[in-house]
């Protein structure tokens, strides 16, 4: 019994330490964001890696999700002859929920992992120490560009995913369910108001911050060679996933009661 309590206590302390470390990295990042001229060259490099290079996989995930969503709802909607509402259902669920969350998860898996692996390798090969020894603060050089690039690119990727998902639904609606193209388009965009798009986009800023900061933090924490880099990368993805889903839940509840 005592052992269990001790174990739980230790876990809890480790969890608080983790949270503390993550928070202090966030604050440091915010300070460097305003305190120094930041490196546009690195920001643009990262924007390409995080945003542009993620477009193919986001395209596939969003397209298939749109198709599946339309087909699965058709299964029920056909019974009550309400196929035309599939268009609204797809467009609303993509913009409000699936677009932001799926894009964030895909980017966390692709980019978050890459960030941790890169920074982790830099840590274990003393490149981060070298930066610091040359009076080049690692947070300014490594974290701020990745943070900014994520914050810029994730919302754009989300809008892109929303559009592709709606297009996936359109394919099903028009070619499988034989709805007319103009009706489908009208039914997609009529019920869609700015609020739907924005509630989806607000969240993505937080998701982007989570991906970049957890990725960098895990990278900085890496110890012990190749195995350490592997472990850190796994942890980075798992923790990002959990935090993204938890944040999503929190925001959905918040928006539900506020608006």
């Amino acid at each position: 019994m005592r052992d269990i309590l001790l174990q739980t206590g230790r876990r809890f302390i480790a969890f608080l330490q983790y949270l503390g470390g993550l928070t202090s990295l966030s604050l440091l990042t915010l300070i460097w964001l305003f305190a120094a001229p930041f490196k546009w060259k690195y920001v643009i490099q990262q924007m390409k890696k995080i945003g542009y290079d993620s477009m193919p996989i986001v395209f596939l995930v969003a397209l298939f999700t749109g198709i599946v969503l339309a087909l699965q709802s058709a299964y029920q909607m056909q019974k009550i002859s309400a196929e035309m509402y599939i268009a609204s259902l797809v467009s609303l669920s993509m913009t409000r929920e699936l677009g932001p969350v799926l894009t964030a998860l895909v980017v966390a898996g692709r980019v978050g992992a890459a960030i941790t692996a890169e920074l982790g390798t830099m840590k274990v090969t003393e490149q981060i120490d070298a930066l610091e020894a040359m009076a080049a603060p690692p947070v300014q050089h490594l974290v701020v560009p990745r943070f900014l690039a994520s914050i810029f690119m994730l919302p754009l990727l989300t809008i892109y995913a929303d559009a592709i998902g709606i297009f996936g639904g359109y394919l099903v609606g028009v070619y499988k369910l034989n709805l007319s193209s103009s009706i489908y388009i009208n039914m997609s965009f009529d019920p869609l108001v700015m609020k739907d798009l924005m509630t989806g986009l607000y969240k993505t800023f937080f998701f982007a911050a989570i991906i970049a900061l957890v990725g960098c933090f895990e990278g900085f924490q890496t110890e012990g060679g190749a195995e350490g880099v592997g472990l850190a990368t796994t942890r980075s993805v798992v923790i990002s996933f959990i935090l993204i889903i938890a944040t999503d839940c929190l925001f959905t509840v918040l928006f539900y009661f506020i608006f």
Partner: protein
């Protein structure tokens, strides 16, 4: 003129409850080459990182030119770091940059010179280490010995007052090791720098050292010039410098 460049006073440091440095004292004079010897994992690199300010001690002081660097942060600390050059154990070149960008990193970062002047200084540093004309290559294309030499070029590019070498000869062949030893001696003479070398390679230690200090169980147990160290009657130092498998060091480890 012999003045004190670096003074390490009563530094203690533990990692996860395990003491690595226990009340360590060491004085390094301006212009000398201090070689710190000791077994792998005895805390030599940790000591070096304390002097550069990459690690903060649990207690004690590290004075660089009279300033306690354990008490300062940020830009103040960076100002002192610009006087340092450091060669890391694995060279620690930035993979994403070319050799030229690596060597000129600090000059670019702090905009110490104009672009043309930086290009010239980078070429000069690479020439110092015998690697002219490889500015465009990526670190991944270099051999281990070349990486170390590029790391050295990066460490000396801004004419530092103090150069730190973390195991400069580990992991490279004996001939290249001698080339590096000669470089350390030559740089020390030519640029008139203070050098601190961490190594467990005694050939290298005797060759480059003005003085040698032995780190054992978290403290400096002997300091002296190479001849004094060779003639030492301290059994621990004796075992280490002769490389004997049996002696007080290994006995102490077996008792643990």
């Amino acid at each position: 003129m012999t003045t004190i460049m670096i003074d390490v006073v009563n530094v203690r440091k533990s990692f996860r409850g395990r003491p690595v440095l226990r009340s360590l004292n060491l004085t390094i004079k301006r212009g000398e080459t201090m070689v710190i010897i000791g077994r792998s994992g005895c805390g030599k690199s940790v000591l070096l990182k304390h002097i550069v300010g990459l690690l903060k001690p649990d207690s004690g002081q590290v004075l660089v030119g009279g300033i306690d660097i354990t008490k300062i942060h940020g830009r103040e600390l960076d100002k002192i770091r610009l006087k340092f050059g450091m060669l890391f154990q694995g060279a620690a070149l930035f993979d994403s940059l070319t050799v030229g960008e690596n060597v000129g990193f600090l000059l670019n970062e702090h905009a110490l010179f104009g672009p043309d002047e930086i290009t010239r200084k980078v070429a000069e540093s690479l020439a110092h280490v015998g690697l002219s004309g490889i500015e465009h290559m990526k670190p991944a294309e270099l051999s281990g010995g070349m990486k170390k030499r590029v790391g050295l070029a990066r460490a000396i590019c801004h004419n530092p007052e103090v150069i730190f070498y973390d195991e400069p000869t580990t992991g490279i062949d004996p001939i290249m090791a001698d080339v590096i030893n000669n470089l350390i001696v030559a740089l020390n003479k030519k640029l008139n720098t203070t050098s601190i070398v961490v190594t467990h390679d005694m050939v290298s230690a005797y060759k480059v050292a003005t003085r040698i200090a032995m780190l054992y169980e978290g403290a400096i147990i002997a300091v002296g010039n190479p001849d004094e160290i060779r003639a030492t009657d301290n059994p621990v130092v004796r075992q280490f410098i002769t490389g004997a498998a049996e002696g007080p060091i290994t006995e102490a480890e077996q008792r643990r």
